[in-house]
Symmetry: C2
Amino acid sequence: MSDIETLPMNSVSELGARSKAASRVLASVSTSQKNSALQMAAESVLDSAEGILDGNQKDVDTAREMNVDELTIDRLQLTEKRIRSMAEGLRKVTALPDPVGEIVDDWTRPNGLKIRRVRVPLGVVAVIYENRPNVTSDTFGLCLKSGNSALLRGSSAAINSNSAIVGALQCALSQAGLPSDSVLLVEDTSHETAIKFMQLNGYVDCLIPRGGRSLIESIRENATVPYVIDGDGNCHVYVDEHADFSQGIEILVNAKTQRPTVCNAAESLVVHASVAQSFLPLAVKALQGVEFVGDEISQKIVPEIAAATDDDFSTEYLDLKLSVKVVDSLGDAIDHINETGSGHSEAIITSDVANAEEFSMRVDAAAVLVNASTRFVDGEEFGFGAEIGISTQKLHARGPMGLEQLTTNKYIVNGMGHIRG
Amino acid sequence: MSDIETLPMNSVSELGARSKAASRVLASVSTSQKNSALQMAAESVLDSAEGILDGNQKDVDTAREMNVDELTIDRLQLTEKRIRSMAEGLRKVTALPDPVGEIVDDWTRPNGLKIRRVRVPLGVVAVIYENRPNVTSDTFGLCLKSGNSALLRGSSAAINSNSAIVGALQCALSQAGLPSDSVLLVEDTSHETAIKFMQLNGYVDCLIPRGGRSLIESIRENATVPYVIDGDGNCHVYVDEHADFSQGIEILVNAKTQRPTVCNAAESLVVHASVAQSFLPLAVKALQGVEFVGDEISQKIVPEIAAATDDDFSTEYLDLKLSVKVVDSLGDAIDHINETGSGHSEAIITSDVANAEEFSMRVDAAAVLVNASTRFVDGEEFGFGAEIGISTQKLHARGPMGLEQLTTNKYIVNGMGHIRG
């Protein structure tokens, strides 16, 4: 650890302290000042396009030298179009309502004490993420609008891209008269520093990991600051005995194939036994190119379905693969989903109102969808404007996290010399 | 670990699984059924008074054998009166509004998707606590009313008391037709089991520690489930240059001495330099019996004030001791409080509205009080009816945690075959 400590002005705890100090200033900055800083940040990103692309090219070259797969390189690669889209993202945040200062609730106690519950920024929002350099500016935008400083730790693969983007953002902050420390990047991308980043107690108010299962496991193991898990999406589509088949097929195809690599894509099909014989062949036909694994009954109905292991039913494939389970009742479907799901997004296809209601009430997930694709569960589609992630835990935020989820409450109590008897 | 695993029906993970299963049932139980179970629980606690007192006597005898101090024994000791008060607590919860099922928000998207945000139980609420057997029934009451199962791990010192209380509660649950596993006590009070208790991923939805600093540290080190910290209260009373002295003295005396051992008691007095000379002597006189430590200026003004160390300003004494700091401005007071405080409850005494406003906005704490005692910051005084703790973190819940803070949200999305384009 000692070599980290001696990095001048750059040790993780030094960055944490600076981020905290900036957050104290941001907490009382006006909406218009935040919006004008966001506009300047958008300009600055565009003006710095050349430098950002240069930095990005270094990252891409390094990735190619290391024989990284093309999908990963595509996620890493920036283009002028992607930079314009980053700037556009910052501008869009200016149009969103500022959650800070909202009086969530107020009341007067019988003794005359006046209590207000006010929405305030979290303080320092720390985000640890993999590749995708646009996360850098998106996160900054949402954090600034909600009055938080952003303390970022991207991957080593994107270090030059992220560094150039943060430089552009800091430049805009200074121009706007706000602390440039409102966004800080941890440039030491070692594993040891990542662990230290997860343990910045006293500095970090909320840590949000955005990445795969190993990152989430590392957070659970190592983090000592409060965090929100943006976890797996092992999402199910359940076709009820009273389902409209054509709706069911359309939704299933959309949920599975429209963008298979994201967390709100479907990973498993659950079918009521009374319609399995007729629905499954249609599903397999409609989902050509998708690999199917299923339980014994489903295999008997459609020979193209291979045998599923128990693990399959708990797996988020993020790929053109789907597990199939036939159940005897709505209750069995709910139990199966609650047992194997990850609490993200779960859909039922049914024309029976009572079944829809029972499914909605008893399925334990951030979002339950009735006759709609699981793909709708994100901040944009919900109308939050943008999101910093989709929480699969129940504390603080559940489901898409927009600006409101980047705030907390403060109680302000006004008395006239009140003492407790 | 293997010896724990083989404890039949009693291993921590077995208890976690049973608690989870019970929570699935509780999530859709009606308010009236929960209320009648709470009434029966109150009856059952009274009916079991003899057994509970017997169990408690064993705990007290053991504590005396181990030469435990009288204050701790007082917290452990049950009496008929305290048992009646436990039953009364359960009855009071029946009168509180049921937060479950509330539609927090609903809207329709331009594409016709209808989205409802509904309040639902967390699931399994795990509480780890020290002594005070009444926490057992209080926690159960709040958890049941909010549709959660309670998974409890009390201290070894109170094991016989807790076991008898949980027995009485489980008996009432069975009578009421609810799963008796809705409240479960981990009877193995070893350290290893406590660690396992903090790592019940997949079973525990929210862990709430109620205890001292070492428990909190252990949670930060070891917990892998989501938790809410009910932490220290290093609360300040700041006497502004525009303070009404008699109000200031009354509030200070109340905040420091009305119940010095609780988290919302004041631990530090901050005084504006322009009034220190006149206010400090009054404060020391009014707080006879309280030990004072302070900075150099305060020592010069009042010789009874001993020298404070830096540590003093960050210490929650929970005792008749007060640290004193003289500051040159409101801004310095705010900075000092933000640096040394624990984010619990902070009071300002002032008749200047602008100063009150600035203090309220810029002090970073769960509760800020203007001309009122810090002692008001708890669930009862806020009108929440009861509380399961006072959160000093910013995620999920901040400040007193009542029934609402024992819930989360679920989004229910209704479509008509909606797919994403």
